[in-house]
């Protein structure tokens, strides 16, 4: 009979409590990035630069509307077009560099950690591979490594881009109009609390689905391990009924989790919308006072900037889960790398051949 390795669920292990603090893990991972330090530095710089050049776009629109189009000052295009083109090109180039360099960093870093794990596994005590543990060990250089790979590729850059976008948007907004900025971000604390609180609720719902999922997995595993007996006793119908029942429970739990997790988005969107309405209401009034305290271009830019900090903020909150699971994956990988070698052995080339 074949063993049960391979089905071991990473998620199940994620429920275990973590012991190593994040900063220790991050520092150790950073040390792994040393061989690709240059790539990392270029990648991070390009990421931030890409976010900033992306933010320049609405401002350039505002400038075009206010100082070129509205007064029909077409000569302004002579400097505006090259500048705008440069911003677009810069943005493109930075994103290109960012994606490429961060990919190199992520792949090489994880590969190096994986190599270290493999090397360690060859020297640790055989007791380490006791039955039942095999699945757990196998999932570290495979599933866990993959989680970290994807996190560095998608999560880390998203976090960098999101933070840069949020801070950049704030800076530009406050530079353009302090009063309107304060009004625009007034809904922010409510949004953060809401997303955090409801997010917690939905995380709990998803954790509950894990229980039904492991029940389903266990059922499947048992049925397959005993399939010969099931066939010999023509018991297929009965076992299928039980399997379908356990599957239905899982489907129900997952659907409930989907309901909860998707139900908080409308609230967040409503808050963003209220922000837009505040900007429009006060912006239009400011535009109509004599003399106007704001320009049309700035008003439109505000609406766009509000869009460009709100979305990253939500993204950042949902990224929290990814960050957490990447951290526990990293912790488990280091756990393998740090395993003590009980019987330190001479390397093969120095071992004595018995005649």
């Amino acid at each position: 009979m074949s063993g049960s390795y391979g089905t071991f669920s990473t998620k199940e292990e994620e429920r275990r409590k973590r012991v190593v603090p994040d900063r220790v893990l991050i520092r150790r991972v950073y040390r792994y990035a040393q061989t690709n330090k240059r790539n990392l530095r270029i990648g991070v710089t390009a990421t931030i630069a890409g976010a900033f050049t992306g933010l320049a776009s609405p401002y350039m629109h505002a400038v075009a509307i206010d100082s070129i189009i509205t007064p029909k000052n077409l000569a302004g295009f002579i400097w505006w077009i090259p500048l705008f083109a440069a911003v677009i090109l810069g943005n493109y180039l930075f994103q290109y560099i960012q994606t490429y360099q961060m990919r190199i960093v992520g792949e090489k870093l994880v590969a190096k950690m994986r190599d270290d794990m493999m090397e360690k596994l060859q020297v640790v005590s055989l007791r380490y591979f006791s039955e039942g543990e095999a699945g757990r060990i196998i999932s570290r250089p495979t599933n866990d490594a993959n989680t970290v790979r994807i996190f560095i590729r998608v999560g880390l850059t998203s976090i960098l881009v999101d933070i840069s976008s949020i801070l950049g948007s704030f800076a530009i907004m406050f530079y353009l109009d302090i009063r309107l900025s304060l009004l625009a971000i007034s809904v922010l604390p409510v949004a953060i609390v809401l997303v955090w609180y409801l997010g917690k609720y939905s995380r709990a719902a998803y954790r509950r689905t894990l229980i039904t999922t492991s029940g389903l997995t266990a059922r499947l595993q048992e049925d397959l391990a005993g399939i010969k007996v099931i066939q010999a006793y023509a018991h297929e119908k009965e076992t299928e009924k039980k399997f379908l029942k356990s599957q239905d429970e899982n489907v129900k739990a997952t659907i409930r989790a989907i309901f909860i997790s998707s139900s908080y988005m409308p609230f967040v969107m409503a808050l963003r919308l209220i922000g837009t309405m505040i900007i429009l209401f006060f912006g239009v009034n400011a535009l109509l006072t004599v003399p106007p305290t704001i320009t049309l271009g700035i008003l439109v830019a505000f609406i766009e900037y509000q869009f460009s900090y709100f979305m990253p903020l939500i993204d950042l909150v949902t990224m929290y889960d990814q960050y957490q699971s990447a951290m526990s994956a990293i912790e488990r990988m280091f756990d393998v790398i740090d395993t003590k070698v009980e019987v330190a052995d001479a390397p093969p080339e120095r071992s004595i051949a018995l005649q």
Binding site: M118, F129, L216, A234
Partner: protein
């Protein structure tokens, strides 16, 4: 030769071509599952249209505010009305978005459930040799991990695609009447974006697929390494294992980086092109603008802002579509692994004229039976013998002689290629499979018990068995006294959280399980060899009691079993070498006599040939 050589060759042999048409046919097959949920699909379409319309209202009404409220002429009385429309559209958008996500998620769950059920059902019909070749872990992970990838794709794909299509259509429908020229300018880059997005997909998909394939092999390489660590240590191949691993991993990393390079070139191109289009719109608007600060100029500026903001908004659906294409690549690999199993051939099926037949006597006749797992490589050749009702036949033979294969043919775990097997003169293919198997008691070599109570395990073949029948079966299997000695008796749970049973106890429970249906025919694989004398004796007594008055085929390892059998069947390389009573075979001076004398007489240990085996 390096341990990783086959893996390395495999990784190198992967060509980053083809796969596109395969992916398409897999997608079509996935689409078939959607047909069962027409209402969900319809709801998604309607909600997607609604969502796209509501999404486009805010920029439109903001521009109306610029044109009609700010003016000139200024008309502040309209402001609250427009703001209200924006608010209602926003709330409507939020609600439709929520409903869409939910309905999509529900549909995805249902489809994954359908695929998993189909997968499960197909597994029930696979042959024993299928299960000997594919591990339980692998099969389970296909139904869980791989289907999770499919779920990821199914949760959003339709909504995302429809969103991109409808949003583009609705935006064009709004801006085209306002200014055909500006629409043309702003949409000029769309074909390019479409082209690059498809290109990105076509170029990277084979690479990602290769990555997944390599990773799948690497995972089993690691598995083998860990499971076979002892052997590797003994032969001091550790360095070899790691070096081979690194070589294959290098191919993986390089493929990933190549894919990353292609992605990094194409992915930011869409938004860049859209922004470039926006610049062109500005220039055109600037040139055609009417007298500055006039009502006409304000209208033009208001619409200019609308055009540019719509173009910025379009970057989101485009980004979502390329992300969905990414999830499809992963889902496709997962789907393929599931479909591969579903499509694997079934072992045996009911014949069209099959019926429920009651076995009255239990006479068994095999005539010229030929069978092989692979065509043209027969494991059994021209096997002919007959068993009278109630007779016990012990089957003997070396490992690989076809003993297990022979007994597996009786309940039709496999179908024979030539000849016939008859029970009471009726060909076993005329029986319904369930009817045949329920009337034949089977004790396999592998003593598997399900999690549950002892009572449930014994009553497995007859869930409605009375307590009397269960106790009777347990008594015959000589396990009743042991069960009674447990604090919870027959309600004692077995399995992970239950009582730990010895191999001998487990075997007797499986014997009780076979007896509870009171079968006329019993087949047993008694290969449990290395047990202590007491267990040996208990099992022996159980087998003796169990086989009374039943037609029995038993693979024998013990002399005591052979002794009580009416006849002996000696298999050699898939053919019947000798068949007859102990005395007859001893008189023949053949294989049996030789083995009998060397193994049973000389050694006290009653193990025939090399024990175990199949």
């Amino acid at each position: 030769m390096s341990i990783a050589k086959p893996l390395l060759d495999y990784a190198k042999s992967l060509k980053p071509q083809k796969g596109f048409t395969q992916s398409f046919s897999a997608f079509k097959r996935l689409l078939q599952y959607h047909r069962r949920y027409p209402w969900h699909v319809a709801a998604i379409v309607v909600l997607a249209v609604l969502r796209s319309i509501l999404f486009s209202l805010e920029p439109l009404y903001t521009s109306y505010i610029i044109i009609y409220v700010i003016g000139p002429p200024t008309n502040t009385s309209l402001l609250m009305g427009y703001l209200l429309v924006i608010l209602l559209a926003g709330i409507g958008y939020a609600i439709t978005n929520f409903l869409l996500t939910y309905v999509h998620g529900v549909m995805s769950q249902y489809i994954v459930r359908d695929i998993r059920s189909e997968y499960y059902r197909s597994l029930q019909t696979k042959s024993f040799s299928f299960y000997d070749s594919v591990g339980v872990g692998d099969l389970t992970s296909r139904a869980t991990v791989d289907l999770q990838l499919v779920d990821m794709f199914l949760r959003t794909w339709l909504g995302t695609v429809l969103n991109a299509v409808f949003t583009t259509i609705i935006i064009i429908a709004i801006i085209l009447p306002i200014s055909p020229t500006m629409t043309l300018i702003s949409m000029a880059t769309m074909p390019l974006i479409f082209y690059f997005t498809t290109h990105l997909w076509i170029d990277t998909m084979p690479l990602f697929r290769n990555m997944q394939l390599i990773m799948g092999r690497l995972t089993s390489y690691i598995q083998q390494n860990i499971v076979g660590m002892k052997t590797i240590r003994i032969f001091r191949r550790e360095k070899d294992v790691v070096d081979g691993f690194k070589k294959v991993e290098d191919i993986y990393v390089n493929t990933a980086i190549t894919a990353g390079k292609i992605q990094s070139m194409y992915m930011p191109l869409g938004p860049a092109l859209l922004t470039l289009g926006a610049a062109l719109v500005y220039v055109y608007a600037g040139i055609t603008l009417g007298v500055p600060y006039s009502a006409l100029a304000v209208e033009q500026i208001g619409y200019l802002i609308l055009f540019v903001r719509y173009m910025m908004r379009l970057t989101f659906p485009i980004r979502d579509v390329s992300q969905t294409l990414g999830t499809w690549i992963a889902a496709y690999a997962g789907l393929q692994r599931v479909q591969e199993i579903i499509d694997a051939p079934r072992s045996v099926e009911d014949m069209p004229n099959a019926r429920d037949i009651k076995i009255e006597k239990g006479k068994l006749e095999l005539e010229n039976v030929t069978f092989g797992y692979v065509k043209d490589r027969p494991v059994l050749k021209n096997v002919t013998f007959a068993v009278q009702p109630g007779e016990k036949i012990a089957i003997l033979g070396a490992t690989g002689s076809g003993k297990s294969s022979l007994i597996y043919l009786i309940p039709r775990f496999y179908d024979i290629q030539a000849g016939s097997i008859k029970i009471d003169g009726i060909d076993i293919r005329e029986f319904k499979l369930a009817s045949l198997r329920r009337q034949i008691g089977v004790v396999l070599q592998d003593v598997f018990l399900f999690s549950g109570t002892l009572r449930e395990n014994i009553a497995f073949g007859k869930p409605d068995a009375s307590m009397d029948e269960i106790v009777q079966a347990a008594k015959s299997a000589r396990i009743h006294d042991f069960i009674e000695s447990l604090p919870s008796g027959y309600d004692t749970p077995v399995g992970e959280r239950g009582v730990t049973l010895s191999g001998g106890q487990k075997q007797r429970i499986t014997i009780a399980r076979a007896l509870v249906t009171n079968p006329k025919i019993l087949i047993m694989d008694d290969s449990l060899s290395f047990v202590d004398a007491k267990t040996e004796q208990e099992i022996q007594s159980a087998i003796e009691e169990a086989t009374k008055k039943r037609t029995t085929l038993i693979i024998a390892q013990r002399f005591s079993t052979i002794k009580t059998a009416e006849k002996l069947l000696v298999l050699e390389n898939g053919s019947v070498a000798e068949f007859g009573t102990h005395e007859e075979l001893m008189a023949r001076d053949g294989v049996y006599k030789k083995v009998y004398e060397t193994q049973f007489v000389q050694k006290a240990s009653p193990i025939l040939w090399e024990g175990g085996g199949s």
